[in-house]
Amino acid sequence: MRSPFPSRRSLILCSACSALPAQAAAAQPARPRIVASFSILADMARELAPEGAEVSALVGPDADAHVFEPSPADGRRLAQADLVLVNGLGFEGWIDRLVRVSGTRGELIVASDGVQPRRAGPAADPHAWQDLALARRYVANLSAAFARRWPAQQEEIARRQADYLSRIDRLDRQVRDRLATVPRAQRRVITSHDAFAYFGAAYGVDFMAPQAWTTHSEPTAAAVARLVRQIRAGGVRAVFIENISDRRLVERIAREGGARVGGTLYSDALSKPGGPADTYLKLFEHNARALADALASPP
């Protein structure tokens, strides 16, 4: 019968092995440096990364990732990054070249890896973070990447992951409860940014938009007419203005269709620190509350 206790040789081996990470940790730079492509991802990373990690976003709060123009400072930050986090699904058209040009040795982590994307026309719809269930996938991908990169902090990372996931689950229930107060047939909303398809599918809200989901498309008279007809015919109750598009266009459409103009929905970026949506979870909660409020009140 074999001894249940480890042999002396394996003990020595183990202690040697456990010394290695300590040596490796001593050899590593003091703080993990993580660069995320945009603010929402950066916020997630802040929650999940080990204590003391430096997390920054290329496209900051209130900014538009579709028209992002990198500066030399961005290139420098990338060059020094240990990990580079991107959304993927075509969200960052500019990232490949920027990564190449910066010469970074940080590993590129695609947060949406494994997510089955919705389609928006011929391309994939990248806004998967608007569904908390898919956000769990993001969390898993990020945590796994952090744990791979900083195995010494595996436990801390796992703890943070579990905590974040539970907060996500709680938030998910809250959102569903809130929206349940509005009958499904009345949950019809217009927003000038077609970034909420995932949210709509997950939580049973019909989102319609006057423009395609990149901010560059120009409005056509036919599209505006279609939408006005849609609002009138479909009993759309509320119109939301995303924080980067032409608010005047949305106001005109709402006025003509007889819908309410709601507050702001945050789709692609956090608000500035101190604003109502300066973390990912707050962003989600804000959106849900704004939607529920606008839909619940009569037009």
Binding site: V59, G60, D62, A63, D64, V67, F68, E69, S71, T215, S217, E218, P219, T220, A221, A222, A223, V224, A225, V228, I244, D246, R248, L249, E251, R252, I253, E256
Partner: protein, 288 residues
Amino acid sequence: MNDWVDPFVEFAFMRRALVATLALSLGSAPIGCILVLRRMSLVGDAMAHAVLPGAAAGFVLAGLSLPAMSLGGFVAALLVALAAGFVTRSTPQREDASFAAFYLIALALGVLLVSLRGSQIDLMHMLFGSVLAVDDAALLQIAGVASLTLFMLAAFYRPMVLESFDPGFLRSVGGPGASVHMLLLVLLVGNLVSAFQALGTLMAVGLMMLPAAAARFWVAGLPGMAALAAGIGSACGAAGLLLSYRTDLPSGPCIVLSCGAVYILSVLFGRRDGMLWRLLRPARHLAG
């Protein structure tokens, strides 16, 4: 009713867009004609870029406040226009070069200001509207500017024309050359900036210049040219809106391309120096 009128009957936004285009055409057609005759046709495009530093300054001072950014944009464009005008009057440099110089300086300043602030928000996108989204304030603004323009141009018609074709004579009789020059630039900037805001830069400059450039091939004198240009602009506004409605193409480009089509037809078939006209009919002699 018939197909052509239905969209305007059914939708208020179509009616407003039509009225906006009409008002814009009325106000900017005469200015466009004067620019064409004075060989200042590219100035409109220059002004579209000259607003940036002012809008950026407004943004820096007051955040995403549309009034602040608009006012800043207007002041910046005005400064560029007046500086260029001053250089043109005081040195041998002509208007095309002085405008190019100052608008490029302004544009670079604007880009610098925006990048210093760090925000990636497209200021220009915020500042420039769409013809489909004109609200009451924008309509009043365009109509007001158009009325003012027409009034001022009519009142100062004689010195304006004289300053355009013989500024030396105007100076020699002690006429208001500098004032009238500046008046033209102020009206130009006023029309453009108010139109940028309401309708976007493409439509603003397009409706100012294309009908004027086309009208040249039909009418010689300034009043007639301006009237025709205003008519072309209005008609193309309606045509472009209908086109955008029927074919689901962006409205601004549709309107401007309608003007473009009229321009090309004018170049080819215009009674005054149209290309094909000249080929088909030999030059006639005037009797003595």
